[in-house]
Symmetry: C2
Subunit: 335 residues, 2 copies
């Protein structure tokens, strides 16, 4: 059984289950469910920012830092990739080489796929495996574009937003909602001109950010069936760390800020609230995916039996009527 091997720390078994899960192999579900009771210990850290922010190097340095404090680290690297070719631009192998000799590090790359929550689901599956294996830290690295990726970072216990001087894109990051999910800011490439300006901007918008974080936790998120009514978990300032990743500058401080945030939310009860939202999101991703497949097959059936696409194009029926009909077949109106 893969499950016992994985719980015994078998890396190859873990990689095999991740692959089965990513391929949506029917055997994966039961095994992930069997691993799930062994999860809940890992500190899940999302790390996001614009392309070019130097996230990969930053993550590599964080891995080294956490290892030097005796902790094991799993990494999920989400690579932006073509929706058509489906391939990850950075492969596992290139990145693995740097930590190949270290059994305390496991790196898995995932390519983005479609828009049906597939990425979010694949990420959760890998996190489940890594957590069950006993990795102390799980770092999820993603480019901060797209709602799927924002959700992934939002569902981490601790979200690190990486900014760099000179991109001039701060306002875009704010628009994309990334600032609103930040628990820690890292201003990377801080030896470049403009670093102080980025920090000043972040300090200016702290007020907005904090009040939006309150809003978020009060009203819950899109996928949160149990919005939290308690007081907001923090109105404290969000720490801003300066880093120069290739020179290892500021990395220890960033790692400490991540640890402090983890400790703080464990104490305040926010850890558990975040877990609830995260686990609800896993359920939603599973449901969305399965439903999409179900509707796909029902539409294909309608195409076979009544040439629905031609009837739509010729305006003999409307998408609104077809959707209604399919929904009625699933949810008969109560009498």
């Amino acid at each position: 059984m893969l499950v016992e091997k994985i719980l015994a720390g078998d890396i190859r078994a873990a990689a095999r289950l991740m692959r089965l899960a990513d391929d949506r192999d029917p055997s994966a579900r039961a095994q992930l469910a069997a691993l799930f009771p062994h999860t809940g210990r890992a500190h899940i850290v999302g790390i996001t920012g614009n392309p070019g922010a130097g996230k990969s190097t930053l993550v590599d340095m964080l891995v080294k830092r956490f290892r030097s404090t005796g902790r094991t680290v799993g990494v999920v690297a989400i690579d932006p990739s073509s929706p058509f070719t489906g391939g990850a631009i950075l492969g596992d192998r290139i990145r693995m080489q740097r930590h190949a000799a270290d059994p305390g590090v496991f790196i898995r790359s995932l390519a983005t796929r479609g828009h049906l929550g597939g990425l979010s689901r694949s990420t959760s599956d890998v996190v489940t495996v890594l957590d069950a294996m006993g990795f102390d830290m799980v770092l999820i690295e993603t480019v901060g574009v797209g709602q799927d990726e924002v959700d992934i970072v939002r569902n981490a216990h601790t979200s690190v937003v990486v900014l760099v001087p000179g991109l001039g894109d701060e306002i875009q990051i704010m628009k994309a909602g990334l600032l609103e999910v930040a628990d820690v800011f890292a201003v990377n490439k801080a030896d470049r001109p403009g670093a102080e300006r980025v920090i000043a901007e972040l300090e200016t918008i702290q007020q907005i950010t904090v009040s939006q974080a309150e809003l978020r936790h009060h009203r819950g998120t899109d996928n949160n069936p149990w919005p939290v009514q308690q007081a907001p978990e923090t109105t404290a300032r969000i720490p801003i760390l300066k880093t120069v990743a290739p020179r290892n500058e500021g990395i220890a401080e960033l790692a400490e800020a991540i640890d402090r945030h983890g400790d703080s939310i464990r104490q305040s009860g926010a850890w558990e609230r975040r877990e609830r939202v995260r686990l609800a999101d896993i359920i939603h991703a599973l449901l969305r995916e399965r439903m999409a497949a179900e509707f796909e097959s029902r539409l294909a059936e309608l195409e076979r039996t009544s040439g629905i696409s031609r009837r739509l194009v010729s305006r003999k029926t409307s998408p609104y009527d077809v959707a209604e009909k399919l929904l009625a077949s699933l949810f008969p109106p109560s009498v």
Copy 2:
């Protein structure tokens, strides 16, 4: 009835139905279905590109150009906005002022919302209304980030990808899959240094782009229940137009390239194939949204009856098991 008024060209009735649809008012569906038989004439043009590419000005100039050739133009402007505040950053009113005196122009802004296909659905609803009203051209302007927005542009009859010199982000656009959906390239701000380099890069990747477009049309898209088996619709070069929007340079040529593409796909039959995919996507967006609401309420029910979120956090059950249970209640396994 709103429908008759809209078909008679009543702008206020149209705005009212768009608002009802955007608010997911139950009365909207039947009215959109009633309008649908009157659609199918408008040429739907998606215009996308990075933030800062000057899309708004470009769209305004295109509107003027199409108007000068006697055509009416509807615009759907999708504004990146906070997922929490929900507000559009540019309002309808600011943009409307420029064309306020012209009844041949209708502009509607939409804010991004969630990740359940809500944006895609809202866009389709507005397009249905504009098409039914008889607008000759419907321009959909969106920032090219996020799968939702890529889908919206992909579902247009003609997709214009706007690039600018100096952003150095060509590779990022390619990663995001935008190049693969391009029918026309506009290199805007073409008076800036580097314009020729952007054009040279685009010419270099034409080969890749064309072969990926073939792939796309052969295997269908995520949401396409009826993948097309015919020969790819074109292996011709994708036109690259230089524009300087504020000076109206290259706008007439861009408008012509859009018209030529529309004529070409009408003749080749690709127009109808694109309509099928677009209409299937509307059905999917409607289904996704309704399913999400359904699961939301079932999860909330589980929370009330069995405190499911605590049982998840304490690992007494797993997201995989909960999802399975909910799905089984919808789709009882066949005996």
